[in-house]
């Protein structure tokens, strides 16, 4: 008799456990199906023309990235030749090379390194929703650039796009373009210059960072700015809106 009870208890326990698992699985399955259905309902039909353009775009972007790498390599090589030219034997005045270097940094066509700060900014998520007022706009990024230069930056890059003489930060629909290249949030700022004074711009009451990060207002999310003893910024490889042609 006790044996029988034991078997029954065992069976009840195993059945209970299986039922619990089954219940869990069912609810998960239900949730998943619902989520999948939701995604599907948001999906309008794929446009083959747009798909074709998207494929082409990703191909040309890859090519351009490789070309940018080639340009950077060639510029470094050229820079080395310029250095050699001022060395013994050639007698080219060193001021010429110093001027070349200085204006290359100013134009943004040479990668630079130096002490600086970095931080990221991204859209605000207030009440769990990102609305037009709470996304990071082209004008916000531009004002941050201005503020960093006022604060002592000598060179700035956002998501590896160097700020140059003719850099524009503009929105085309919901996408942000810097130097004609699409960049997406989070936006990573890197600035080489006087790190202490740049850090101070974040503390400034009523300053750009204070206003944009205000939890009661725009509430953009900023990471804590970090100081670096040495940061490297990439060079710009574009045509300065046709100025250099």
């Amino acid at each position: 008799m006790p044996k029988k009870i034991n078997a029954r208890v065992k069976l009840t326990i195993s059945l209970t456990m299986i039922s619990v698992i089954l219940g869990l699985m069912l609810s998960m399955q239900y949730k998943n199906t619902r989520a999948a259905a939701n995604t599907q309902s948001q999906v309008t039909t794929t446009d083959p023309k747009a798909q074709y353009t998207a494929d082409q775009l990703s191909r040309i972007k890859e090519q351009n990235k490789a070309l940018e790498g080639d340009i950077e390599k060639l510029r470094k090589e050229l820079y080395e030749f310029e250095k050699q030219a001022t060395q013994a034997g050639n007698n080219v005045p060193p001021e010429v090379r110093d001027d070349l270097t200085k204006y290359k940094i100013m134009a943004g066509v040479l990668p630079v390194k130096g002490p600086g700060i970095s931080f990221t900014v991204t859209d605000s998520i207030k009440d769990g929703q990102t609305t037009n007022l709470l996304i990071t706009h082209d004008s916000d990024l531009r004002m941050m650039v201005n503020e960093m230069f006022i604060g002592g930056a000598e060179a700035i890059a956002i998501n590896d796009q160097r700020i140059t003489t003719t850099s524009g930060i503009i929105c085309i629909g919901p996408i942000v373009m810097i130097n004609g290249v699409k960049v997406s949030p989070p936006f990573e700022f890197k600035a080489v210059g006087q790190a202490q004074t740049m850090m101070a711009t974040f503390e400034l009451r009523g300053g750009v960072f204070d206003l944009l990060g205000d939890p009661g207002g725009r509430a953009l999310s900023f990471s804590k700015p970090k100081m670096h003893p040495s940061l490297t910024l990439p060079a710009y490889a574009g045509d300065f809106n046709g100025l250099s042609e």
Binding site: N32, A36, I60, D70, P111, N241
Partner: protein, 247 residues
């Protein structure tokens, strides 16, 4: 175990097995659906705009690579020839100075005149002029974003590290030099139509109007627009070329 119980267990296990299978396949097939969902008709306009920019960049990259290769070949061939080396470096310096904003630029473009406007002052007053820096900076930004090649504000050239700052309603600075806000003249050489599209699309006229300022655009199509070079000495204390000692 009774046969009945065995059947029950078997059925439950069977059901559980099939649930797991379905669950697994749902989880795995979902990313695919999302991929397919990524490109729709609505994206087409943006994709085309991006594509045009990337094509433009690519064309420039090819010509720049040819240019750089020719320069490097030039240096290789002129080792030891001082006169030729100096000549090549002088040419290179001229190009870099132009890109940095250190030379005067002439060409077609637009002149924007920003002055107190009686209607605007009557409607909005002049209190908002403390935000003039933001509006000016946006103007420069949208001009640059729409094919401006060179810009100056009241004779001060805009370069990579230019700053625009309003200290108060009366005190505005471009490149840390005070300008008079009674009459602000922005000159921009570049693609006239594109620059105007950038200004109109971003409603800059309205922004200035709300500060009591009028915003008039004049086209210059005879190539007579002059943008002066950056006026101050340049020195970099912190930024240095990668792999180099301090300047």
């Amino acid at each position: 175990m009774k046969p009945n119980n065995k059947i029950a267990l078997f059925l439950v296990s069977l059901l559980l097995g099939s649930m797991v299978t379905v669950q697994f396949s749902t989880v795995h097939s979902r990313p695919k659906q999302q991929d397919a969902a990524a490109v729709t008709t609505g994206d087409y306009v943006q994709l085309t705009a991006e594509m045009a920019k990337e094509r433009e960049r690519q064309n420039f990259f090819y010509s720049e690579i040819a240019n750089l290769e020719a320069q490097i070949a030039g240096y290789k061939g002129k080792q030891g020839d001082r006169k030729e080396l100096v000549k090549q470096m002088a040419e290179e310096l001229e190009k870099v100075k132009r890109e940095a904003g250190q030379t005067q630029v002439n060409g077609d473009g637009i002149i924007i005149t920003i002055e107190d406007d009686l209607d605007a002052v009557a409607t909005y007053g002049t209190e908002n002029q403390v935000f003039l820096d933001a509006a000016l900076y946006q103007t420069v930004n949208y001009l640059n974003g729409h094919d401006a090649q060179a810009i100056s504000i009241n004779g001060h050239r805009i370069v990579s590290f230019s700053t625009i700052r309003s200290i108060s309603k009366y005190n505005h600075q471009i490149n840390t030099q005070t300008i008079s806000s009674d009459k602000i003249v922005i000159k921009a050489v570049g693609n006239i139509e594109q620059m105007k599209v950038g200004l109109y699309a971003n409603r800059l006229k309205d922004a200035f109007f709300q500060m009591g300022k009028g915003f008039e655009i004049t086209d210059v199509k005879d190539g007579s627009l002059e943008i002066p070079p950056f006026e101050r000495a340049v020195e970099f204390k912190y930024a240095q070329p990668e792999g180099d000692k301090k300047l």
